[in-house]
């Protein structure tokens, strides 16, 4: 009863859980336009993930697995389902997640048959694969109810059903390391545990065997996604879009969300997107504000592009942005390769390359 009264008071006064606030982009997250200056290596139909073995770059583009040599892309093979995650393995192997429900391990990218297939019935939205320190695979499963491409619904339903699995291709076993996560999307080995992105809770958590997740970085102004190791120590963390007060407000309005999801096409929901500004039907694109007696068109930002460089403790050092007026939005993967950072901007469907030489020094000054 007291909780109900408190909840009502909080909603009335805009406090507690009903506080509609968003952290600012400042400090190491101070905006710039670095991602807009990145070179476009390739434009794809629906790039989903990247992986590298330091000599070749593998790109998951829908059902196709591409290999990029220089600026030339070649199709290595295709699958019966869209690829939702990629990971290179020691010894030239490759692991692919298909449709979010199955993980196949190949001895090499061209191998006809997978050496191991993990198709646990619980798999629903496997969206990232990473190598653990014992060479087993770590898979993050965003949601137990919504598919890989239906992540916006998972956010609007306030689901907290993300899971982390260890896939041991030695004994072909699947072990659940964590559950109840707010859309687990990306993992990376960190000591004897794993750093895991929780997109809907805007944080990074350290998942260790036999221990409850420990918060490493919280209150991010973005929805974090995949992680990869940086060659000079630390990590690259991508974020597929930024939080806005509008979406935070909608997340606190269950009736509105229910009707919106029932009556409006998903691409026009008030929800984060990987790209925006393509249709006047997008929510609020027809909005206006009146300033000094003059009506001006106005629309809140819906998409954003961001990569955060983290130190070895998971704390931000600097960040690369594509701001609201940019194009390279919806960054879902970033890997280092040959002194460059290669990224996927899923919004425009681009694979981007950004030279790393001098970048850290530039942000230090």
């Amino acid at each position: 009863m007291i909780a109900a009264v408190r909840d009502f008071a909080n909603r009335f006064l805009g406090r507690g859980d009903a506080t509609i606030t968003v952290p600012s982009f400042d400090g190491a997250l101070k905006p710039n336009q670095k991602l807009e200056a990145a070179e476009t290596l390739l434009t794809c139909e629906s790039p989903a993930d990247l992986a590298t073995d330091d000599s070749k770059l593998f790109i998951a583009d829908g059902r196709k697995l591409l290999s990029l040599n220089g600026s030339t892309a070649s199709e290595l093979r295709s699958f019966e389902q869209p690829i939702s995650a990629l990971c290179t393995l020691p010894g030239g192997g490759l692991a692919v997640a298909l449709g979010g429900r199955e993980v196949r391990v190949y001895a090499n990218p061209a191998a006809e048959q997978p050496s191991t297939t993990f198709a646990d019935a619980a798999f629903n939205a496997i969206n990232a694969l990473a190598l653990a320190d014992d060479n087993s695979l770590i898979a993050t499963d965003g949601s137990a109810t919504c598919g890989v491409d239906d992540w916006a619904r998972d956010l609007l339903e306030l689901n907290r059903s993300g899971r982390v699995y260890r896939l041991d291709h030695g004994n072909k076993s699947v072990t659940r390391l964590a559950q109840g996560l707010g859309y687990a999307f990306g993992a990376c080995a960190h000591g004897n545990g794993m750093l895991v992105s929780e997109s809907w809770r805007h944080r990074l958590a350290l998942v260790s065997p036999g221990a409850s997740p420990k918060i490493v970085l919280a209150h991010l102004p973005v929805y974090p996604s995949r992680l990869s190791k940086a060659s000079s120590g630390g990590y690259w963390l991508t974020a597929f879009t930024a939080r806005t007060q509008l979406v935070e407000f909608v997340l606190r309005e269950p009736g509105y969300r229910r009707r919106m999801m029932a009556e409006i096409a998903p691409e026009h929901w008030v929800a984060p997107r990987l790209r925006s500004g393509r249709s006047f039907k997008e929510p609020m694109q027809g909005a206006h504000i009146k300033t000094m007696g003059v009506i001006k068109p106005w629309a809140p930002p819906r998409s954003y592009g961001l990569v955060i460089r983290l130190d070895a403790d998971g704390q931000p050092l600097y960040s690369l942005h594509s701001r609201v007026d940019g194009i390279n939005h919806g960054v879902v993967a970033a890997v280092e390769m040959g002194g460059d950072l290669v990224l996927i901007a899923k919004g425009p469907g681009r694979v981007l390359k950004l030279p790393l030489a001098g970048l850290a020094e530039e942000f230090r000054t």
Binding site: L13, R15, T21, S24, D26, G27, H219, M292, Q315, R364
Partner: protein
């Protein structure tokens, strides 16, 4: 008859030996609108106060219509035809508009109806839509401004001085105000107005005078200026470099995030303000007066309260906090060093040691009833030595100290709380040069020790000299962030104004 309505020659005003204006020459032509611009502390208000008889010149001369004058009171200035409209208006809120208009001109027997009729006729002649019978407290800012102006015109002012006239006006009210000023100009009234909004100066004025560090920099026709030229004239200073040293060549890296302010609101001063403060760094917060800097951090420290409805969120070490009074904030490790030390900083007739020990009272253990005199003296003595407070004795009263040493006592009172987050609000205001250097060394030392330090200052050289990162505040929120290495005075000032 000369074209010059009012002029000042070599005008100097010293406050406790420190020049607020220094050898300023100023001419105001008949029927012109003359804008005075400059940073906080540039001497704009002092110059206008001299004209309006609020303060007297230490040296120099003032002439009105070619006659040398020295008004010692506002009444004397008014008799010379000079009226000043203050930023915080000087109307009596409980009186009616008409009573305010005729205040000071009352006869032995006043017929209220007659006053109202006269006021009505006069206001109509000015085309001012104000009801003479309305109580002033019920009027909006623009209407109050109108009454002030009407009073100045009623007193047959030939010169009207406006101090930040548009600060509290809405855009529509501003437009109306500009029309009023232009109308006054047509009547031959000379106008001086102070404004931080440069576009207003460029839009309204015939000539602009820029003051810096109490000295005249330039006066010219408005056509000769653009925004960049005014900003350059406002901030280009040599004097500050000698005091605050060269530019920073390196900055401290950010540590953990200590404070996060998200969409904080306290109408009308703080509007949807968001910022972060990190440990091991000095975060400088710059802004012009009224930018909401002090209010934001007073809310953080529990001195002020945020809006009751949807007031935003404050996170200390990533945990939401809300302090209604300062004591729990102090316990949580937040220290706020006030900008107004005389009112909020100390008990001036208490001893230095007692004032320093005051800082510990919020952490006083429960159940303990008595203060230990020995402990108070020991704590006081230790901090007097650490901060090099120059006093005749440890028992000396704070009122006997110089401004710089008083400030050190206020700082010691905060540091004794062993805070993680220290907010210095104008830490060197009214402090002598020697103490400025010592206070700056102390602030740097705190950041080196890993504390999260915030320095709020209206003085650009101080911000540039101290900060590792600089947040610029404008109209109630942080609008720009600079690394100390990329910041220039022009960039900061541009962000603070536009």
């Amino acid at each position: 008859m000369s074209d010059i309505a009012l002029s000042l020659r070599k005008a100097t005003k010293l406050y406790a030996g420190v020049p607020a204006i220094d050898g300023v020459d100023f001419d105001l032509r008949r029927g012109e609108i003359h804008a005075l611009v400059g940073e906080n502390g540039a001497g704009k208000s002092t110059l206008t106060k001299v004209m309006a008889g609020v303060v007297a010149l230490t040296s120099g001369t003032m002439t009105v219509d070619g006659t040398e004058v020295a008004p010692k009171t506002p009444l004397e200035a008014r008799n010379l035809g000079i009226a000043m409209v203050f930023q915080e208006n000087s109307l009596v809120p409980t009186m009616t508009v008409a009573q305010n208009l005729f205040l000071g001109q009352e006869k032995f027997y006043n017929r209220l109806r007659g006053i109202y009729i006269a006021a009505q006729q006069f206001l109509q002649s000015l085309n001012f839509d104000v009801t003479p019978t309305a109580t002033v407290s019920g009027l909006g800012a623009a209407k109050k401004q109108m009454v002030e102006i009407a009073r100045a015109v009623l007193h047959r002012a030939k010169v009207i001085i406006f101090d930040e006239p548009t600060a509290s006006l809405t855009p529509e009210e501003k437009k109306y105000f500009f029309d009023l000023v232009r109308d006054l100009k047509k009547r031959g009234v000379s106008i001086v107005f102070i404004s931080h909004a440069l576009e207003e100066a460029l839009l309204l004025a015939d000539r602009i005078t820029v003051l810096r560090d109490g000295k005249h920099v330039v006066t010219d026709d408005v056509a000769k200026f653009d925004r960049a030229a005014i900003v350059q004239a406002m901030v280009g200073r040599d004097l500050s470099n000698t005091l605050y040293g060269a530019r920073k060549s390196s900055v401290r890296p950010a540590g953990a995030r200590v404070l996060t302010v998200q969409n904080l609101k306290m109408a009308p001063m703080v509007k949807n303000n968001s910022l972060s403060v990190f440990s091991g760094q000095i975060t400088g917060v710059f802004g012009l007066v009224g930018a909401g800097r002090t209010e934001t951090f007073k809310i953080v420290a529990g001195v002020l309260k945020r809006d009751f409805f949807h007031g935003g969120e404050i996170l200390l070490h990533d945990q939401p906090v809300r302090y209604r009074v300062p004591a729990p904030a102090v316990k949580a490790g937040i220290a706020y060093v006030t900008e107004d030390r005389k009112v909020e900083g100390f008990f001036e007739t208490s001893s230095i040691a007692r004032n320093i020990y005051l800082g510990l009272l919020s952490k006083f253990p429960k159940g303990r009833m008595m203060l230990s005199r020995r402990e108070t003296d020991a704590v006081g003595k230790s901090w007097i030595e650490r901060l090099k407070v120059r006093a005749i004795s440890d028992d000396g009263k704070v009122v006997e100290l110089s401004g710089g040493n008083q400030q050190k006592v206020v700082i010691a009172k905060s540091l004794v709380q062993e805070p993680d987050l220290i907010i210095f609000d104008e830490p060197t205001r009214g402090v002598d040069v020697g103490a400025i250097v010592e206070i700056h060394e102390l602030i740097n030392r705190l950041a080196d020790e890993g504390k999260a330090v915030v320095v709020i200052s209206s003085y650009l050289p101080e911000i540039m000299a101290l900060s590792d990162r600089i947040l610029v505040s404008r109209q109630g929120k942080v609008v720009e962030e600079f690394s100390a290495l990329e910041a220039t005075e022009e960039k900061i000032m541009y962000a603070a104004i536009h």
